[in-house]
Amino acid sequence: MTTPLRPFPAAFVSGIGVLGPGLPHWPAASAVLAGRQAWKREKTVLVAPELLPAAERRRSVRAVKLALSIGLEAVASAHADATNIATVFTSSGGDGYNCHQLCETLASEDRQISPTRFHNSVHNAAAGYWSIAAGATAPSAVLCAYDGSFGAGLLEALAQVAVDRSPCLLIAYDADYPEPLFATRPVPDAFGVALLLTPEPGATPCGRISAALTEDPADALADAELELLRRSIPAARSLPLLRAIARGTSGRIVLDYLDHARLAVDVVR
């Protein structure tokens, strides 16, 4: 790889939110990843946050509930104010159920789709609901890099913190797909992770991270079940990083990113 022109951008992890199968929040996920608690795989429970106005709460789809829940957990754990924090939303796809119903209607005799279904189909639906729920007027970047969406979001968030010298909330999330899309995109359940990245250490920093592209292979997880989770839901490609944070270890970990490149992430406690 070409030698970088300057040190790679770094940021402090000042808040974390996690929601996934049998992982209802970061403290539970942290205990599992640190080996303090056994993991029991249970279907991810998604609830629309109370913070959403009633109309939006009624209209919110699975991917939106997931993204908002983890974002709020990360912000609350850092006692931060969401209204002025820039966000990066990254997901390998939109809401699979919403997409399925749209495509089914468009393939039917009556193609009149519901306006709510349509606005929920935009990739930035979660960012829009977040902005409304949190009163957040700061910019949102909304990204997709298929299976590498977590890595793409991490690069964008690190670049934002480095360039803007202000906090950035990374929200990486993926929800499951129904058939027949599931056969071509077998995401089995919902998983998401939110990292509040800051230029200075917060009250309870979880470590300092930086990232660079590498051709080295990605780290796997020793636990076969957790490794299956890592490989089956794109946002769970973050698990080796979360494990390092949970264990309080410093060092270099490698995350899956694109076909031709992985991300080497240096974690410093």
Partner: protein
């Protein structure tokens, strides 16, 4: 007020746009100078809506290279047509040779990518199992990343690649992401693009919201009644400005500032006073170190829906008053959704290079409150502000200018 850090200026060393007006910059410039529209009554696919569209001719005839055949869909065909105009592909290959394949990032804005492929596949499900046809390729066609992956593979690049998908501000915000990645040192140059193609989701979707017009769209006209959906592929090659001033031509095109904001108001309606839009324009001016008086022309988002243009009128009026010449070029190109920011950055560059202020086609009787341009006029243009706003209240303003 949210201030972004120092990202700009950056050099836009090459740019191109393919719209319903034709392939590449020349037909776009000719149409802008003539005030001509490329819209037509909708005859796309099996769509039975009373609306107008901006369709690029001959997209389905485009063939992708054998190694990339799995990416075949209307959206990637349109992307390839776009990449092959105006020497853009050669400029990327030269930059790749100069900087290294890992040092060039790919940032493509799209709202629906190749979802048309899925819409068509759903018509051919197995009658017993419900399965989609065996030749359906989700990752290479429907997924938002498909177009960024295609562009990266087309050039054999090996740096970061990402799709930026914030509905109708997507490709404007792709400039913001690319600029930050260059400023942070992850990359040295970026392909920034916007590609969106006609599909049933957007035609029936905007129709369900009663936002499509049964006429060719008339931005800012008092009689405006909705959008005309178009399709486009626009690309720019973004690089650091050379350290030596002598290496920058006087008519070089620079990205001078980017400003972004979120409305925090409604999923499918803009803030009525245009507060988010105004904040994005203010942030772009702050990033560029400019004041409103420094802007010679504003390319408005101007979708021609009653609410968008009213909201944008208030935002622009509050910041610029009624003196800065402005227009929406969507009457000529249609609303190309996720590609609009890229197309309109190319329009800005053409205005800067050619010294003209483009009129908004189809508009006859504009709303009061803005210096809306009804006939294209020749005059020196040094700096252009271009607005792009999207569903979910996502706003982005770009400022593009001449080096001198």
């Amino acid at each position: 007020m949210y201030f972004r850090g120092t990202v700009t200026p950056l050099l836009i060393s090459r740019y191109t746009a393919t719209t319903c007006l034709g392939r590449g910059l020349e037909p776009l410039r000719d149409a802008l100078l003539a005030g001509r529209s490329g819209l037509k009554r909708c005859d796309f696919e099996t769509v039975d809506l009373d609306t107008w569209i901006g369709e690029v001719e001959g997209v389905d005839d485009e063939t992708l290279p054998a190694a990339l055949v799995d990416f075949t869909c209307r959206n990637n065909r349109l992307a390839q047509i776009g990449l092959n105009q105006d020497g853009f592909a050669d400029a990327v290959r030269a930059a790749s040779h100069r900087l290294g394949t890992q040092r060039i990032g790919v940032f493509v804005g799209t709202s629906t990518a190749g979802i048309l492929a899925t819409e068509l596949a759903y018509r051919h499900r197995d009658p017993v199992t419900g399965a989609l046809p065996a030749d359906f390729r989700y990752a290479q066609t429907h997924n938002p990343f498909s177009v960024a992956a295609f562009v990266q593979a087309f050039f054999g690049l090996a740096g970061p690649a990402v799709a930026v998908s914030t509905a109708c501000s997507s490709s404007a915000k792709a400039f913001a992401s690319a600029g930050r990645m260059i400023a942070a040192g992850f990359i040295d140059a970026a392909i920034v693009g916007g590609v969106d193609s006609l599909c049933l989701t957007t035609l029936y979707g905007f129709n369900s919201l009663e936002l499509t017009s049964s006429h060719a769209c008339r931005p800012f006209d008092r009689a405006r009644d909705g959008i005309s959906i178009g399709e486009a592929a626009a690309f720019a090659l973004l690089e650091r400005v050379p350290d030596s001033a002598g290496d920058v031509a006087d008519d070089a095109i620079l990205l001078l500032g980017v400003g972004e904001s979120s409305d925090a108001y409604h999923m499918s309606s803009p803030h009525p006073e245009g507060l988010g839009a105004r904040r994005a324009m203010e942030a772009a001016l702050a990033a560029a170190g400019l004041s409103p008086a420094d802007i010679d022309y504003i390319n408005l988002h101007g979708t021609a829906t009653p609410s968008n243009d009213a909201s944008e009128t208030r935002a622009v009026g509050a910041l610029f008053g009624a003196t800065t010449p402005c227009s929406s070029t969507k009457g000529a190109t249609g609303h190309t959704l996720g590609a609009a920011g890229g197309v309109e950055a190319a329009v800005a560059a053409l205005a800067l290079r050619g010294g003209f202020v483009p009129a908004g086609a189809n508009t006859r009787n504009p709303e009061p409150g803005l210096a809306y341009v009804l006939a294209t006029r020749t005059q020196p243009v040094r700096r252009v502000l271009s607005n792009s706003f999207g569903f979910g209240g996502t706003n982005c303003s770009l400022i593009v200018g001449r080096a001198k």
